[in-house]
Symmetry: C2
Subunit: 432 residues, 2 copies
């Protein structure tokens, strides 16, 4: 052993690697294990295929297709979201990166491991796990088209009109380190390690071309009976979502049509907001107050004054005193389609839970101290953010009673292009 405890010679690596391969290579061959194989003679992790027993377990979501997966896909339990800065000025670098990312994402979605570069291999932390319904969804931020006035990649003229710079909304307390990004990757899976693993491999491939700007892990607690999940406010979240399992509905509200640039047809726009919730404050409120704030009953999820979660919101309903059953400033009155020219957006949000930090609340009693850094990674998809999130939230940011408990600290808008055909790559149309 050399004197320096960290002096490790390449000779020794190779000597060892040769020995290890005998053992490591023995158990795995070809298409026999998901997330479970060493493939090569150098003890590198390599996994070419998916075990039949896992493929049969409904743990796979398709990667290739007209639309990107992870948008109208029924929400998995966990997400890992990452926004990247592009550090290159070369158009070809971006194209090559998107090609590598696309190919690797398809493999990861099938439960395979990947080789981020010629030297190093998959991190291996998902070996033995199922694909867990992994989806990987890419988005392009305004910075891909123009950054600090520079048309870095010759794409300025191809920026979609709908990919606006998000306005500053009332109450915004955006943190630079949780805002924006040139490219986004959102991995969703039914296992948090599988979601993180995917982004981790893709981030490694991007070395020096794209660098992580900010990330956020999230979760939802899917109900055993398949019912609407409850967020950290304790209320059902997502009840009023459009029925995107119906193609006509998805085409109307989610997918970009003939109005968009060609490469965005079949794509969608993602608005992401990291919303810290003053849970300590919220928890001190009586349930009746919470219900007036949201506009729904806490237990059933029914709109106030009605009986069932799925009852249509009736803004004209009055209580016995002649007041609106759903208060003027309640969350759902402001958010509902009937109050927004019939527009609907798909909310696909996750809770986040990043411990505690020193915080001063924005509202009486202006509590200060170590408070939960927890809340909602709000994710929404829509055909056009100008008539979707921006229109709806401009009003909500001013009037929603729930604002007493929420602070938007992160924000981004991404154009998620159409899906890719096998052999193609995400965003190919943009660079054509």
């Amino acid at each position: 052993m050399s004197k320096c405890p960290f002096d490790f010679t390449r000779r020794k690596f190779l000597a060892f690697a040769g020995g290890a391969a005998v053992v490591a290579g023995a158990g795995v061959s070809g298409l026999t294990a998901a997330h479970a194989g060493f493939g090569g003679a150098t003890a590198d992790l390599k996994q070419p295929g998916l075990a039949p027993q896992l493929a049969a377990q409904n743990t796979l979501e398709p990667f290739w297709g007209k639309h990107q997966s992870g948008i109208i896909t029924p929400a998995q339990d966990y997400t890992y979201f990452a926004a990247f800065n592009l550090a290159t000025t070369k158009r070809d670098d971006v194209i090559k990166l998107l090609q590598k990312w696309t190919k690797a994402s398809a493999a990861l979605s099938r439960g395979q491991t990947v080789e981020p570069d010629g030297e190093t291999v998959d991190s291996g932390d998902t070996l033995g796990l199922s694909p867990s319904r992994l989806t990987i969804t890419f988005g392009f931020g305004p910075g891909l088209f123009i950054k600090d006035g520079h048309d870095r990649f010759g794409l300025k003229s191809r920026r979609p009109e709908a990919l606006v710079d998000l306005p500053k909304f009332a109450g915004d307390q955006l943190v630079e380190a949780r805002t924006g990004g040139d490219i986004s990757i959102q991995a969703c899976a039914d296992n948090p390690q599988v979601a993180f693993h995917a982004v981790r491999q893709l981030a490694r491939m991007a070395d020096d071309i794209a660098q992580i700007r900010w990330t956020q892990a999230g979760f939802i607690a899917n109900q055993p009976d398949g019912g609407t999940t409850r967020n950290l406010l304790g209320f059902k979240d997502g009840t009023g979502n459009p029925h995107v399992d119906q193609p006509a509905v998805a085409d109307k509200f989610i997918w970009v049509g003939s109005e968009g640039p060609d490469w965005m047809r079949g794509g969608s726009y993602a608005v992401t907001r990291r919303i810290r919730i003053a849970l300590e404050h919220w928890d001190k409120m009586k349930v009746a107050f919470q219900e007036q704030t949201i506009g729904r009953q806490k237990l059933s999820g029914a709109p106030l004054g009605l009986k069932n979660e799925t009852d249509a919101v009736d803004l004209n309903l009055m209580d016995k005193d002649g007041n609106p059953a759903i208060p003027e400033n309640s969350h759902i009155r402001l958010a509902t389609a009937a109050a927004n020219d019939g527009i609907e957006i798909l909310r696909r949000s996750y809770a986040y839970n990043d411990g505690v930090s020193l915080t001063a609340e924005r509202w009486p009693p202006w509590r200060q101290g170590m408070e939960y850094d927890a809340g909602l990674l709000f994710m929404s998809y829509q055909r056009d953010p100008r008539t979707g999130f921006i229109k709806i939230f401009d009003k909500m940011s001013k009037f929603d009673m729930l604002n007493q408990f929420t602070t938007h600290v992160g924000s981004a808008l991404f154009a998620c292009p159409a899906g890719a055909k096998e052999g193609g790559f995400i965003g190919q149309g943009l660079f054509a």
Copy 2:
């Protein structure tokens, strides 16, 4: 509508609450639903019992018993750990808080909702979910016995000798806001929302008596086949754990015996370390180097030079060149019982994943930038930390090759007292 959008009169709340109760009360009665009931006429959330179908699903871990649950309990998938400062100087306040916490923890473990105080109720975010094997484990830090030289609660003379102040270890970069605490509560469950929910309710009960100092959420990716989980390094973690399912082993290594103060007999000592891992750096290493660093094969988990994960570590084994098969500075050589006078500790760690932050790595190539704030919430249980974690880690902190990739940023030691009999409370013996 009043001019101020947040002006909500109490009259209006009450008028509403009366109406809501009719609907809310209708669907639930008595012992019919877990996490699923409004019980009162004021639409407060109250849940007195567990549904039979959930009780039958192996989703329950016992709360009452000789030992606290959550120590030798097979690890659930998720944790939420919280350390509290005591803000009171009254012994009775602490006793009353422990009584309330014990009672509530027993209820939460059964899947019930709780009423944190007379005014407000359960946050309701676990309604409809199963108990998810929730365990809640309490620990007492040195500050309960003496704080800044003050014997606040008359407990100074009852401080166990084993509850030392942890020494500073080589490489420690402890952050005050992630270190220490007078009392700890660790909730573990197979659902992250259930784990957080438990701590959230208990923290509310502690208002003004105990305040959250730091918290950490964590997860592990349990293997579908029940095998050893892989941590974010991609290696199997926990292989060498003592077989605490055998009472003699648990008594020898985990549970305090006649040597401890009475109230600690059947208890254990928990060492918690928040260990940030430079995953970007680790991922650039070849698998063979990673294996030499850990001392085990990545795929199989076998000690180097051997074939199977469960093969006993053989420190004397030489490779064909006459070098130790398990390198001198490898992680397992330093950690294994054979190198530590036969001492074993129970590791019950969770991965954590708190996004990215601006970081300068401690080792070449001294990368700087946005790096993962991810790693391990190392949790260990032992009969005596002086002969357990402290002894083992003192050496590892100096020599372990893995230190190139890890930074300990948080740390705490807690005395976890014996379990409680139904009707008693956790720590009762200490205050007797």
